[in-house]
């Protein structure tokens, strides 16, 4: 298919662009296969806007006489407006945008066409390989092995080719366990807590059904992670009620009788359309320009967004607490094990493991616990807050995770190597990107699409020093301790950086950031100078020190 077929009017003049924080400006609008480009050629420093079609969540058009107006709502929550003279042009452009922003085929997406303008220092597709992760693990324990049972994705289509499992469990047993778990997602290692050797595993629900099926191998697998005489915790991210209902559909949960060494705790993390509706309501509240305080608070409350944040964080804290404070191993699962499960396991690691609070470590966490673990990014991020389609698969699961990280970052502003912008950047790229990293729903699909060969990795771009500097937190001081966030309502806030980003100028917050950087930079300069002088005095060969 040629993009040209979809572009009926490739260019329109005298278009007026309205966007947040800028005065309306007149210029030329061009449509290409992947971008909407606006440029005002009136001055020497022409203003330009490049918008990826894939970033467009929804469009609305209206007419006043022959003047057409297109309102474009983006997945990053920005809203822009184009006034286009001429009804036909406007209609053509609107339908082109509509078609180009809802392309069916992944291979037509921009990452397959994008050619980087920067030098590739490190290929991001090879930055975080499971073997490296396993090597790190092997240096502290020999109780685990790397299994290639899924090397052609035949056992579990949503798992990566290699997974880490207890050494004592052979591949044959894994086969059987896979049959007993929803979507074949058998329990695998998620995190090893060096401090006390406790582990966190994740899986999907067991297929116990109404007649209480059991699987000896499954029991053996998870028991293999327990120390002699110790108990473990199973954190089911569903309420007991929901978990019980799942039995009717062949799912279920681990019965006490068959897992006597495990204590099951149910948490209630919402899924799919409930989360999507929550996002839609929240963004609606944030865009409400009325001056009424009551309406704002009740809309914020009604969106339930912060309730979801609180529930997810609470479950993650609980998992971390079981591991670090109770000295117990933990298994986390919900239904499929691809959404709330990953929220809990990844957040627990941020709480427990200082490495996950570095830039590199956080990237590795996203790769391990989201991309390789088979979070269906393409389905979940197909639409954002302005979607009106009622498709079942969309949900801001990853955005909720990033929001929770932001909440922890706000409570521990000196313990993270990255800043808020880093999280916002990940949010943007998960929904629309020139990079292939978040395409596809799992490693299987990514490998079929040959993404590593055909597209550029986000990490190749981010991990260059000129980009990294934007994402560094000036206040960072490595903190080797476990960080326990507060989950009280008083401690949780609306993430302004995402949800109010286009409503209020960030000028004053930026200014504060800049000032922080200056304070710390100057301090470091002085330290260097003092040390240089000291050394110089010492080298002069006298003992005349302070």
């Amino acid at each position: 298919m040629e993009f040209a077929e979809l572009i009926k009017t490739p260019r329109a003049d005298n278009v007026v662009l309205h966007r947040p924080f800028y005065l309306a400006v007149e210029g030329t609008l061009c449509l290409t296969g992947h971008h909407l480009i606006f440029s005002s050629r009136r001055h020497d420093n022409a203003e330009e806007l490049w918008l990826l079609h894939s970033n467009i969540d929804s469009i609305e058009k209206r007419f006043v006489g022959s003047l057409g107006t297109i309102v474009i709502k983006c997945k990053d929550l920005r809203i822009i407006q184009l006034d286009i003279p001429g009804m036909e042009e406007c209609l053509n452009i609107a339908s082109s945008i509509e078609a180009l922003s809802t392309l069916d085929s992944v291979t037509l997406m921009y990452p397959f066409f994008y050619r980087p303008m920067f030098e590739i220092v490190e290929d991001g597709w090879r930055s975080f390989l499971p073997d490296q992760e396993f090597e790190l693990l092997s240096s502290v324990t020999d109780e685990w092995r790397l299994s290639c049972i899924n090397k052609d994705f035949s056992v579990c289509p949503s798992y990566p080719p290699v997974v880490i499992v207890p050494k004592s469990i052979d591949d044959e047993a894994l086969w059987k366990v896979a049959m007993f778990r929803h979507g074949s997602r058998f329990p695998v290692l998620s995190y090893y807590h060096k401090k006390n050797g406790m582990v966190m595993m994740r899986s999907s629900q067991p297929l116990t059904g109404t007649n209480g099926r059991r699987c000896k191998e499954d029991e053996k697998l998870i028991n293999a992670t327990l120390r002699p005489g110790k108990r473990g915790y199973i954190i089911d991210t569903r309420s007991l009620n929901v978990a019980q209902q799942a039995r009717a559909k062949g799912g279920g949960f681990e019965q006490e009788a068959h897992y006597p060494q495990w204590r099951r705790i149910h948490k209630c993390i919402e899924r799919f359309n409930i989360l999507q509706e929550s996002l839609i309501k929240l963004v609606e509240a944030c865009n409400d320009q009325s001056h009424n305080m009551d309406r704002w608070l009740s809309k914020l409350e009604a969106s339930n967004w912060l309730t979801h944040i609180k529930e997810i964080l609470t479950a993650a804290c609980l998992a971390a607490q079981c591991i670090d404070r109770e000295g117990a191993s933990v298994l986390v699962h919900g239904t499929e094990g691809t959404d709330s499960t990953l929220q809990v396991t990844s957040l627990a690691q941020i709480i427990l493991d200082p490495r996950c609070r570095t830039i590199r470590g956080f990237e590795s966490l996203v790769v391990r616990e989201w991309l390789q673990a088979g979070h269906p990014f393409q389905q979940r991020c197909a639409q954002s807050a302005y979607s009106n389609s009622k498709q079942k698969w969309e949900a801001p699961v990853f955005l909720l995770f990033l929001d929770c990280v932001w909440q922890i970052l706000r409570q521990f502003p000196c313990s993270f190597e990255f800043n808020e912008r880093f999280l916002i950047m990940l949010f943007e790229h998960a929904y629309a990107s020139q990079f292939g990293t978040f395409l596809g729903n799992n490693e299987n699909e990514r490998s079929k699409l040959k993404l590593p060969q055909k597209t550029m990795s986000l990490w190749s771009w981010v991990n260059r020093s000129e980009e990294l500097i934007k994402f560094q937190n000036p206040l960072f001081e490595a903190n080797s301790l476990v960080i326990w966030p507060s989950v009280a309502p008083q401690s949780l806030q609306l993430w302004e950086g995402v949800f109010l980003r286009w409503n209020r100028p960030s000028k004053f917050q930026d200014e504060a950031q800049e000032e922080m950087i200056n304070i710390i930079k100057y301090n470091k300069q002085l330290q260097a100078k003092v040390n240089a002088l000291r050394r110089q005095i010492a080298e002069m060969g006298t003992d005349d020190r302070m």
Partner: protein, 659 residues
């Protein structure tokens, strides 16, 4: 003291609000000024001190098997739950406290016994720190349009006004006195703020006694005079900060508001800020939300909305924004009033001044602002904050709301204020503590009669002495040049009004961010300053050494010396990165990261920090183990109250498992 029936009770338990399992056993003492709880056994005698004047209510609850519970709520939002073993003891403590917390004479208040060991001269200096004449001079007054009037000397015209009042030059004594007779409590229009760039001003007064049709020529002339004092504008705004309905109701009592037909060239405007009773109830409702045990997000947000608190804060802010806009952008003068002109009017005038003038965003300027708009113009501190036993219906968190407006602005404009959140919190504490004389009584007249300045100390001097603790490290004085007037947006989606947990959950440390950006940056800045000093010393020493070496080793050629120089400066960079070198030599530097107490060094320094903490009742506790909640630490005694790891653990469980 004759009111203390029971000076000491043993085996009292202090409950933790968030976790009932964490009770501390100790001894309760009642003194003439404080309630003191001393924990048993612990090496670092953990103490909780509460001033009687901070106590807002005492509640004796039903006796249980473990004893008799006593709930003490404080005006600084601390809540203390004690369990006293014997019902009889509990009753005695209760009766004693009831009396002690309701003093009937000013002389019973703490400031008359508080002695910071300053001599007379120092005390007098302290009272001179804030000088309002100087402030009006700074504004550019007196000038061609404004002058000081002595019409109120000896408080002859208005007993709740200061003796020195600034009025338009064309307002004769006759006009002022005439106008005062037409205003509630004779609070005639007087100058609050003058903008010398465009001559626009903010004046304040009480409501006119207009009833349904009454007029007063002098009052009309007075408003004319205010307009004429701003030649650039042909009208003035009259802002009535009350809801229209309230103002109309007042007409029936012979009071009311200005009729636009009677006053030439005024534009009249209502801004609906509710009265003190509504505000008192609103705070009460919000505090109930704060006290909820493990509330859900919906409980909290619903409760917050239902309390209306943030709506009221927004109303005050909106009024301030309106006035600041009129003055800065339209160049129009504004007369502000409410009913008596000492509550809402004070709030609104001070918010507007703060938005308009960067000086008020400095520490000194903020003291001046409070002194000008609140203390001198007769805000009834004694009635509003219940210092002496009085009518509970008079109590209302008027200045608390103003302080919150300032905090909300600080959140929006992080570089615009010289002071930090702690400054506001300590100020709030001292408005209620009665430890200093500044906020005693209801008016300047009463304070003069009581000889407050001769018998008590000034809070401003105390805060100023400890100003290092109150600095905002992000403050940029150049901000004021680029951002002279702060222009906050008005819609909630633009200006996010937040719940101020630092104030209302001040004593629930576990709810606050565990690492403080302010403290961290202050430590860095302090270190930077020491480095600057050291750099100078080292530079001098190097110069001396070089000189003596040159003198001693004449063999060494100049060429060699330079080579050595170059070699050194390149290696110095890598050296800067070796922490050992740095920490060995600079042991006296403060801990960079207040939360990282796992190293012995920083823990030690933290204790020192706590000890030097400026306020004995306001210890700033830092976590010793990063992240683990410190809920046990509410002892007011400076240092020596390090939380144990276990206490943090318990509270974690309570938080996560209970949900």
């Amino acid at each position: 003291m004759e009111h203390i029936r029971m000076p000491k009770v043993e085996n009292v338990r202090l409950l933790d609000r968030l976790s009932s399992r964490k009770a501390a056993l100790g001894t309760l003492y009642l003194t003439a000024t404080h309630v003191i709880f001393v924990e048993n056994g612990s090496e670092a005698r953990k103490e909780t001190w509460v001033l009687h004047s901070q106590i807002s209510s005492i509640e004796k609850q039903a006796t249980t098997a473990t004893g008799c519970p006593l709930l003490i709520r404080c005006k600084n939002f601390q809540v203390i739950q004690l369990v006293i073993p014997q019902e009889r003891d509990c009753h005695d403590v209760y009766i004693s406290l009831i009396r002690l917390t309701r003093p009937v004479k000013y002389e019973e208040l703490y400031c008359f016994s508080f002695n910071p060991k300053l001599d007379k001269e120092e005390r007098e200096q302290g009272w001179k720190l804030v000088d309002l004449n100087e402030e009006y001079n700074r504004m550019g007054i007196p000038n061609n349009y404004w002058q000081i009037s002595n019409v109120n000397r000896d408080y002859g015209v208005c007993d709740s006004y200061p003796t020195e009042v600034y009025v338009p030059k064309s307002a004769t004594a006759h006009i002022i006195v005439g106008s005062s007779k037409f205003r509630s409590r004779r609070r005639f229009p007087a100058l609050s703020y003058y903008c010398k760039d465009n001559n626009a001003s903010i004046c304040r007064s009480s409501q006119p006694l207009s009833g349904f049709s009454a007029r007063c020529l002098e009052d009309e002339q007075m408003l004319q005079a205010i307009r004429k004092a701003n030649p650039g504008s042909d009208f003035i705004y009259v802002v009535d900060t009350r809801p229209k309905l309230n103002a109309m109701a007042n007409r029936a009592a012979g009071k009311g508001y200005e009729n636009e037909d009677n006053y030439s060239n005024i534009k009249f405007q209502f801004i609906g800020i509710e009265n003190i009773h509504v505000m008192r109830n609103s705070l009460q409702k919000m505090l109930e939300v704060c006290e909820l045990k493990s509330p859900s997000m919906s409980d909290f947000l619903w409760g917050l909305e239902n309390s209306g608190w943030l709506k009221h804060i927004k109303a005050i802010m909106d009024a301030g924004i309106f006035i600041a806009k009129a003055v800065a952008e339209e160049g129009v003068s504004v007369l502000v009033h409410c009913s008596d002109g000492w509550d809402r009017t004070a709030q609104v005038c001070s918010v507007a001044s703060l938005l308009l003038d960067p000086y008020y965003r400095t520490m000194k300027g903020f003291m001046v602002l409070i002194e000008k708009d609140w203390v001198s113009f007769g805000h009834k501190f004694n009635h509003r904050y219940g210092n002496l036993d009085g009518d509970p219906k008079e109590i209302s968190p008027v200045i608390d709301q103003f302080l919150e407006c300032v905090w909300q602005l600080m959140e929006q404009f992080p570089c615009a204020f010289e002071f930090n959140e702690r400054f506001l919190i300590h100020l709030q504490h001292h408005i209620y503590s009665c430890q200093f004389g500044n906020f005693l009584c209801n008016s300047q007249k009463e304070r003069q009669e009581l000889k407050v300045q001769e018998r008590t100390y000034s809070l401003w001097a105390h805060l100023w002495k400890n100003r290092a603790d109150y600095l905002n490290p992000l403050y940029r004085p150049d901000h004021s040049k680029t951002q002279g007037t702060l222009r906050p947006q008005m819609a909630p989606c633009n200006f996010l009004y937040k719940f101020w947990s630092g104030m209302y959950n001040r004593f629930e440390k576990g709810l606050h961010p565990r690492q403080s950006v302010t403290d961290y940056l202050m430590a860095v800045k302090e270190e930077t300053q020491q480095l600057e000093e050291e750099l100078e010393v080292l530079g001098e020493r190097l110069a001396n050494l070089q000189k003596s070496q040159l003198n001693g080793n004449k063999v060494k050629s100049k060429q060699q010396d330079q080579n050595k120089h170059l070699g050194l400066s390149t290696s110095s960079n890598s050296l800067a990165n070796t922490p050992q070198e740095y920490s060995n030599d600079l042991k006296s530097f403060p801990s960079r990261s207040p939360s990282q107490g796992d190293e012995e060094d920083s823990a030690l320094i933290l204790t020192q920090d706590n000890l030097k903490s400026s306020d004995p009742d306001l210890s700033a506790n830092s976590d010793q183990e990063s992240g683990v909640e410190d809920l046990s630490c509410r002892s007011p005694s400076g240092g020596g109250c390090l939380p144990s790891e276990d206490s943090g653990k318990d509270s974690d469980e309570a938080v996560f498992l209970a949900v």
